[in-house]
Symmetry: C2
Subunit: 329 residues, 2 copies
């Protein structure tokens, strides 16, 4: 991954402001077809200074969802696996959890009960797992966990479960001077701990849900501590609001996979000039998962209807992607 | 300004990763002395890969306060002049304001009463002036106002009241691959409306106080509207918290001028490795203003004590700056 980013950076320095004419080079894991063509057409027409669709570099803002868009999200958001492992680690210090819902099911690894957790249960686990740590400690906790944890079904480290075609899309956009932001419903600190290295997206371009934080200065030492209270839920309309707050510009392109991304798409679509709304539809039950409007995780219902009604581009994972994960190469 | 930025960008491409050996070129409006030397020493040692003080480019985060640091703030924060002019514009639609504090004094331009406004009064004015507009409208309002409004004492457009030595410092840091962020107590949308062009700092690197916002989607149209309610006060500990939230990295250098910047300085100072905390002390009653611990605007009291106790660098405006504003050149 690192090699690729450096290579493209070099390429970009040698041929500044060029459009990438050999696009095959950039999207090798995408099958030929309408979806790949739509991406290439959008990029080529918006970076060509002679085109009426040209977009100035400062306006080339692209926002990507993370869970289910850049990496997997089944059978549950990967962040919850971290939260549950952390709860088990902390259990000795919290004897009261042994018979308290939802902690009890986690400590006993009662997969049936865990599968039935509702949003409130999951929020409780995240609050307990993420809070009462300062900024440095938390980043280390996440990275230590990532270095050993495995996906329960795919039996791979979670950071290997990123989508190869999306990595190529990130590179293709980067070389064409698009500024890429992640706008995720996941915890901002959880994603920042690993995504910079995995996707080559700097921390200040990673936006997510936040817990309230507290600053203290004592004996010359400063600490920012996370509190067990939600500050901002970066989902649905939260995504449009946070794009406005963190970026201050309307994106020209958005990429997502669920109804939670719909307001981000609407906000993007409402701008003047060329716009590109791209939904990933998980249709590959053999190589990954197939789900949409009946899924509890990453539900895609209204979003798919609106995409179809508005001629937004929808990736059919099974049809459009040659490979899903980098380790298949 | 634009020319300068392009020139430095070109320079930066031609001599990548070089330290700028002819520093005179970059800081011409700074007098020789300890302050200028301290800046140059910090930059040269942290960008030199052979130095033990070397800082990798991704960690070269610098945060600047805006009011009183990058542009003036006397006799009151410039944003309040905008707010008062906006109140006068809106007065016809709000007949109740004629005899309501603090609107009455603004409408009657009662300078004596205006000078005595407290923080709550000013907040009321900002809420009324900034809210109930959507994102596009507000940016246009600010820019229309800036194109005609003049500073009441200096009789210049406000965007000309930026500090020339600070513009040079921004350029010097940029050419050395520091990532510059504004972290201001002012309204994020107010600063973003003009600061990108004036300082060459993109909107997504401008952080400020925020009002609550509301997203709506009706008949295919999306709107984000500002509400008359404070969401986040980006001052004092708020600056450290927002740096953590928006940037996700601890700055290696911070520049400010008031006690409101102290927590940002403390947060910066607490990092490992080389750190540079730079306070601007307004000491020039002839060319600008002279004020510190007794000023209602931009009070510098605890900050100056802590700067002296910790050997932070303090700019003596009168002594260190050859010129204050670009129009003096």
């Amino acid at each position: 991954m690192k090699f690729k980013i450096h290579f493209f950076f070099l390429f970009c320095c040698l041929i500044p402001c060029s459009k990438a004419s050999d696009v095959q080079h950039f999207l090798p894991s995408w099958n030929e077809g309408q979806t790949k063509s739509a991406i290439i057409t959008f990029v080529e027409k918006t970076v060509d200074p002679k085109s009426k669709h040209f977009i100035a570099t400062e306006d080339r803002i692209v926002t990507f969802d993370n869970d289910g868009t850049l990496w997997g999200e089944q059978p549950m958001y990967f962040q919850f696996f971290f939260a549950m492992d952390r709860i088990r680690e902390l259990a000795d210090d919290h004897p009261e959890w042994k018979d308290t819902h939802p902690y009890q099911a986690v400590i006993e690894n009662d997969t049936q009960k865990i599968a039935q957790f509702n949003a409130e249960d999951l929020m409780h686990l995240v609050f307990s797992a993420h809070s009462q740590t300062n900024t440095n400690e938390f980043e280390q906790l996440v990275n230590t966990w990532l270095s050993t944890a495995q996906h329960p079904v795919l039996k791979k480290p979670f950071t290997q479960l990123v989508y190869q075609p999306m990595l190529e899309l990130l590179d293709y956009l980067r070389v064409n001077h698009f500024k890429i932001f992640i706008v995720s419903g996941g915890s901002i600190e959880f994603i920042r701990a690993w995504a910079e290295q995995v996707y080559g997206i700097p921390k200040d371009r990673i936006i997510g849900s936040t817990l309230k934080t507290h600053f203290s200065y004592e004996n010359g030492q400063t600490t920012i501590t996370r509190l067990p209270e939600l500050e901002f839920n970066n989902d649905h309309e939260g995504k449009a609001l946070s794009i406005n707050k963190f970026i201050g510009r309307k994106p020209v392109m958005s990429v997502g996979n669920s109804d939670g991304d719909l307001e981000m798409m609407q906000w993007t679509a409402s701008g003047k000039g060329s716009r590109f709304m791209l939904y990933l539809h998980h249709t590959d039950v053999d190589r990954e998962w197939a789900y949409d409007k009946h899924s509890n995780v990453g539900r895609l219902d209204k979003g798919l209807t609106q995409a179809n009604n508005n001629n937004w581009t929808v990736i059919d994972m099974k049809k459009d992607w040659k490979v899903i994960f980098p380790f298949e190469l």
